[in-house]
């Protein structure tokens, strides 16, 4: 089977096609991990590229992510059963006091499409929930989103909570959202900042590499 076909189904948002291709591939003995690495990830990489260059807009990205998820739903349980580790574990959420979740959802989809296991904590997430995701959920990366200048300081509070709980050293922290920038990331001691969802994948990859290098 040609992995490129699956990648194209993701790119064009062919939900049913991606699902039946995946089922057929699994039935014929294709390695589950290969479906992710050779079909879904290249497909979502191309979607991210097109979104970044404004060739794709949100509707196209959303239907691509839906196709990716339809395939992943079949593959994920098999990969988990076989004990293969994901590229990294991410806990993502919009900080406490902020209910905006569109940007956060997009970043989560892109990270999932890039091979990360994504634990979406939702919106209005308390600092303690992020701490718990590290302590008990084994998160390698924390992604914090805020749309409001009013809720940006909660990023700082969340990072402080991680420090207080003595888990800050175990986890990389990325931040994003309209009013946030690199200077703010430096100010609150975040490890990375991404201005958009495609860049978020690059930043996550760089942080994981840095962590692996120890």
């Amino acid at each position: 089977m040609d992995f490129n076909d699956l990648a194209q189904m993701v790119i064009s948002g062919d939900n049913k096609g991606a699902e039946s291709w995946t089922q057929e591939a699994l039935d014929s003995g294709v390695e589950p991990a290969a479906i992710i690495d050779s079909g879904l990830i290249p497909g979502m990489e191309e979607v991210g590229r097109r979104f970044k260059s404004a060739e794709y807009h949100m509707p196209e990205v959303l239907i691509s992510a839906r196709a990716m998820k339809a395939s992943l739903a079949l593959v994920r349980p098999l990969v988990t059963d076989s004990g293969i580790e994901p590229k990294g574990r991410v806990a993502i959420g919009t900080v406490r006091g902020d209910l905006h979740d569109i940007g956060k959802n997009l970043v989560g989809m892109m990270l999932e499409g890039a091979g990360y296991e994504v634990n979406d904590l939702g919106a209005n997430v308390a600092p303690e929930a992020f701490v718990d995701a590290v302590e008990n959920g084994g998160a390698d990366l924390i992604c914090l989103s805020a749309l409001l200048t009013t809720t940006m300081p909660m990023m700082n509070s969340t990072i402080e909570a991680l420090t207080q709980a003595e888990v800050r050293g175990r986890v990389g922290v990325m931040i994003g959202g309209a009013p946030v920038n690199q200077a703010y990331a430096d100010q609150v001691g975040a490890d990375g900042y991404a201005p958009d969802s495609a860049t978020a994948v690059e930043v996550a990859d760089a942080l994981m590499k840095k962590r692996a290098a120890g």
Binding site: M58, A178, P195, D196
Partner: protein, 392 residues
């Protein structure tokens, strides 16, 4: 009559009434000074925390706060004392809740609106966010599903009760420009009803259903606009509505999809407004909308608000050069970085720069890009409005 515009103790000499200044600017003509708005048009109000600090800074007595357009606790309408202090040129006219299905509070932090959409906020002074709509959760719905929910009653008399009296009084006793603020338009309302992700997916995957929802929404908002403009269409200078079409880096939809699925509704709605009033039509859309702006202008929009200058492709000089002949700009003073985190000098520079690029030859009303947020220092609010008067 308040008479000619006053400039208490500062600023350049003025020769126009407030209304004349706004009307001329929106007619692409030069004015004695650039007009400014605080609380008149869409999303130009102020967070209560910032407002209380502003009152103290100005040496004004604490006031009973007047709830703003977004709902309790989030924005307030600046009082006449404050507007007089800054010599603001615009005053708002607002619709009220309908008699049938007015806003229904669930608890202190959530409510249903007349469309059956549930809104929530995280704490009392945080913004309300729409969290669930009555068409959300339907999987591959048929067109007939639009008939399964209760739709607002467009000519509900509650919306316009007392409206004409309020506007007539403003018109009789003041010389301010008056902007009638209408509800949101087709795209935003359809998203709330169907869910954000669901509607965007429907636009590509279930076009007939998306179209059926949007058609019905446009019917309702045209009806609401008709009800309102029959009352005050002859008295107002601007009529404003909102429909966010952009995110920080690009428009929500490609130009092709906008033209196919949304533009016909915007054209119908704006056409309805123009058929009922001579007032200028002001459309509010956050985000990067440069890709769609030519088509939005095509629909008959006269004024675009808020000109989110730090979004991709929204550089003010470029927008003015490309679209300035065909559309006016209302807003432009950055609320993501300059107003909250800049110094008063930074704010003054921002205002002078915008008057220089967006204001050249008329066609510009100075206002913040969005409601003034809670942490904006009062010194910056003062710098914004005083610079307008000092700059001429």
């Amino acid at each position: 009559m308040v008479g000619r515009s006053r400039s208490p103790g500062r600023g350049t000499p003025v020769s126009m009434s407030h209304r004349e200044r706004v009307v001329k600017a929106l007619n692409h003509e030069e004015t004695d000074r650039t007009p400014m708005d605080f609380g008149g048009g869409p999303a130009t109000q102020i967070h209560p925390d910032a407002y209380v600090a502003l009152l103290a800074h100005l040496g004004l007595e604490p006031e009973e706060l007047i709830e703003g357009a977004r709902g309790e606790g989030q924005v307030v309408v600046p009082s006449e004392d404050v507007l007089l202090r800054f010599d603001v040129d615009v005053r708002p006219a607002q619709l009220r809740q309908p008699d049938v299905r007015p806003r229904t509070r669930i608890d202190e932090l959530s409510y249903f609106d007349e469309w059956g959409v549930r809104w929530e906020k995280a704490f009392f002074t945080a913004p309300d966010i729409n969290v669930e709509g009555p068409l959300q959760g339907l999987v591959d719905p048929a067109i007939s599903a639009v008939d399964s929910i209760d739709w607002p009653v467009p000519d509900d008399p509650g919306r316009v009760r007392g409206l004409r009296d309020r506007v007539e009084e403003l018109r009789r006793n003041t010389d301010y420009a008056i902007v009638l603020n209408l509800p949101n338009s087709t795209f935003a309302l359809s998203q709330r009803l169907r869910g954000f992700t669901e509607l965007l997916e429907d636009l590509l995957l279930n076009e007939p259903f998306a179209e059926a929802v949007q058609e019905r929404v446009t019917d309702v908002i045209c009806g609401i606009a008709t009800t309102a403009l029959k009352e005050v269409g002859d008295l107002v200078d601007g009529v404003a509505f909102g429909d966010d079409m952009g995110i920080q880096t690009q428009s929500y939809l490609s130009r092709e999809l906008y033209r196919k699925m949304i533009k016909p509704h915007h054209a119908r709605f704006v056409g309805t407004l123009h058929s009922l009033t001579d007032a200028r039509v002001i459309m509010h859309s956050d985000g990067s909308i440069r890709e769609l702006l030519g088509d939005i202008i095509d629909c008959g929009v006269d004024v675009i608000n808020p000109v989110q200058t730090n979004a991709t492709g929204m550089e003010p000089g470029r927008l003015k050069a490309e679209f300035g002949k065909d559309v006016c700009f209302w807003g432009g003073i950055d609320t993501q970085k300059v107003l909250p985190f800049g110094s008063p000098d930074d704010v003054a520079r921002e205002v002078r720069d915008r008057i220089g690029d967006l204001g050249a030859g008329g066609g510009y009303v100075v206002a913040s890009v969005h409601n003034i947020q809670s942490e904006v220092p009062p010194e910056n609010v003062v710098a914004m409005f005083d610079t307008v008067r000092e700059s001429g």
